[in-house]
């Protein structure tokens, strides 16, 4: 699995993502600046890390979604390539239309920086195969706009087609519709989620709860 990690101005979790990828994939990810117009040849997986791209101006992820590299990312996804968006990366790919819905200001208005528990809704995807179905794991979250929303018809379709990847299983602190923490594209190759599995991939970080995500991808 060859990964390319996108870098937008204001992104700050790319090092965490590099570490997680290096450890599980056993090879270095490419780092791709947002002004590039093409992904490196042989890219299997595009990762959009967390942070505050373009200072969250206008809306979280709105500016980054218009960056030159995003045209290549859309083409990659259309060809069936893998895409992973975490936190701001999730916001960017919803703004870019790769996943439905949007992330609103947290219902309680506060920035949430704490651990949450996530439930694995399905384990027959390239992102979740190393977990048991229904498994719960700890994941740090750090966001002000993680309140997932979509119209009722879209939410029903996501549920009906099994495209909810992760749900908040302890408390739904940000007010997300139906406790949704992460969703998949219909071909199950694009995943977006708010919490940060990449921040728990080594005992030195206090746990390895998030490592199955990267191990699953490595095995795909």
């Amino acid at each position: 699995m060859q990964a390319a990690i996108l870098l937008f101005p204001g992104i700050n979790r790319e090092r965490d993502m590099i570490l997680a990828v290096r450890q599980s994939f056993g090879r270095e990810p490419a780092i791709v600046w947002h002004k590039e117009t093409e992904l490196p040849t042989g890219t299997d997986l595009v990762i959009l890390p967390g942070g505050f791209s373009f200072g969250d101006y206008l809306r979280c992820g709105a500016m980054a979604a218009q960056s030159p590299i995003m045209r290549a990312v859309k083409a990659h996804a259309e060809k069936g390539g893998y895409v992973l968006g975490v936190c701001n990366g999730f916001q960017i790919i919803t703004e870019a239309g790769l996943l439905p819905g949007a992330l609103l200001r947290n219902a309680g208005l506060r920035f949430l920086s704490m651990d949450t528990m996530l439930k694995v809704e399905r384990n027959d995807t390239v992102f979740t195969s190393k977990w048991a179905k229904g498994a719960e794991f700890r994941a740090p979250m750090a966001h002000g706009d993680g309140n997932y929303t979509a119209d009722e018809a879209t939410l029903d379709r996501l549920e009906g087609e099994g495209l909810v990847a992760f749900r908040y299983s302890d408390l739904n602190r940000n007010g997300s519709a139906r406790s949704i923490a992460g969703i998949l594209s219909p071909n199950l190759r694009v995943l977006g989620l708010m919490p940060h599995p990449e921040n728990l991939v080594d005992p030195l970080m206090g746990g390895t709860d998030g490592k199955p995500l990267f191990d699953s991808l490595a095995a795909a």
């Binding site: 709105a62 609103l104 219902a107 309140n147 929303t149 007010g175």
Partner: protein, 80 residues
Amino acid sequence: MKAIVTVMLKTGVLDPQGKAIGHALNNLGFAQVGEVRMGKIIELELTETDTAKAKAEAEEMARKLLANTVIESFKVEIAA
């Protein structure tokens, strides 16, 4: 020609900032305030001199970037 784009969260979309402002106004003694909705105004200086064309241009910009039509609605007004 100036275009004024007003972007608001769609009816039915939770507006926690509007709610917080409403609570604060109530706490200040403005008991007459009911629901509060918050949005943003974006002013665009356009080179176009035809009002209808300027409006169409601004609307396209709103659809592509200024508003996220999944959660927001927008209104374009042209000021002379």
